[in-house]
Symmetry: C2
Subunit: 148 residues, 2 copies
DNA sequence: TAATTTATGTTGTTAGTAACAACTATAATA
DNA sequence: TATTATAGTTGTTACTAACAACATAAATTA
């Protein structure tokens, strides 16, 4: 079915373009707030998934524990994250956000959402909702393949 | 209008997730083909925008010329790209693809599109087309902000 | 024409992204 | 008790990417 293939190509190109502009915008914005993109992603994950061990945080972020360890380390130096020792397991640490870390994430998040809102302000709610559904389906399908 | 803000938030989250899974998938696939993501992007740009000077390639990729210079350098060492001197301007170089570079890009591109096709095979053409339109509008709007 | 300015690419430096392997220390299992 | 597995850190390597400084060549101006 050639029509499907053409749609696939068009969608692939479109998503690629979207990824690029989104990334540029987000990187510039995030980096103007004392944290890098990866650091901000770690803050986000801790906001959403609560206190986590390092390995669990790495799993959520699809990153190696060594990479995650260093990202966390820089957040620690900036005092956006706390390391609490687990009394039940001397090896483990519980990572949680400081109030400053939580506040910083919310500031960045809010502003990025305002940006997004101004981007879609002229689009019809129906189209937006349809797109939302498809993007979620695409993501789900793509994620299913990540494991295999 | 709170409804719009909620939509913006949902869309922002969805796009973020999409970006992450797309990136993982693409990176794994591209890196199994002897080139890095940035190198592949340079190949793509040269395929689509034809022979370019280094500064022009950098502009197309929204990268600094120094970054681009090094990306091109690695493609040169792998013989996927040619540097031709411009007789009219001794400073300038014209970058073009070797047949191997062009072939490599098409191989990667084709396979990534097949992936995308299998992701959307169960979705209705109407929804896909609607999404395509919105993603393109989003991209256009976001790109317009990049300059300012 | 000579001097200054601008444009093209490269190289030095720095910081962030990210994986794999090796390592220490602790916990769990045999 | 000895072995194996788990949690996190550190060493190493490669990629991504910007800014500054530089050499060279072209264009402009005086």
């Amino acid at each position: 079915m050639p029509a499907n293939l053409e749609r696939a190509e068009a969608l692939y190109e479109a998503v690629n373009q979207l990824i690029r502009v989104h990334q540029f915008r987000d990187r510039d914005y995030i980096c103007s707030h004392d944290v890098s993109v990866a650091q901000c992603y770690a803050l986000e994950t801790l906001v959403k998934r609560g206190p986590l061990r390092l390995q669990a945080l790495a799993d959520e972020m699809y990153l190696d524990k060594s990479t995650t360890s260093r990202v966390v380390d820089s957040l620690l130096r900036k005092e956006y994250v706390l390391k609490l020792l687990d009394p039940a397991d001397q090896r483990a640490i519980q990572l949680s956000l400081t109030p400053a870390g939580e506040a910083l994430y919310h500031t960045i998040h809010q502003d990025l959402i305002m940006e997004e809102a101004s981007l879609i302000k002229d689009l019809s709610p129906e189209v937006i909702d349809g797109t939302l559904t498809l993007i979620q389906q695409l993501t789900k399908a793509a994620r299913a393949r990540l494991g295999s």
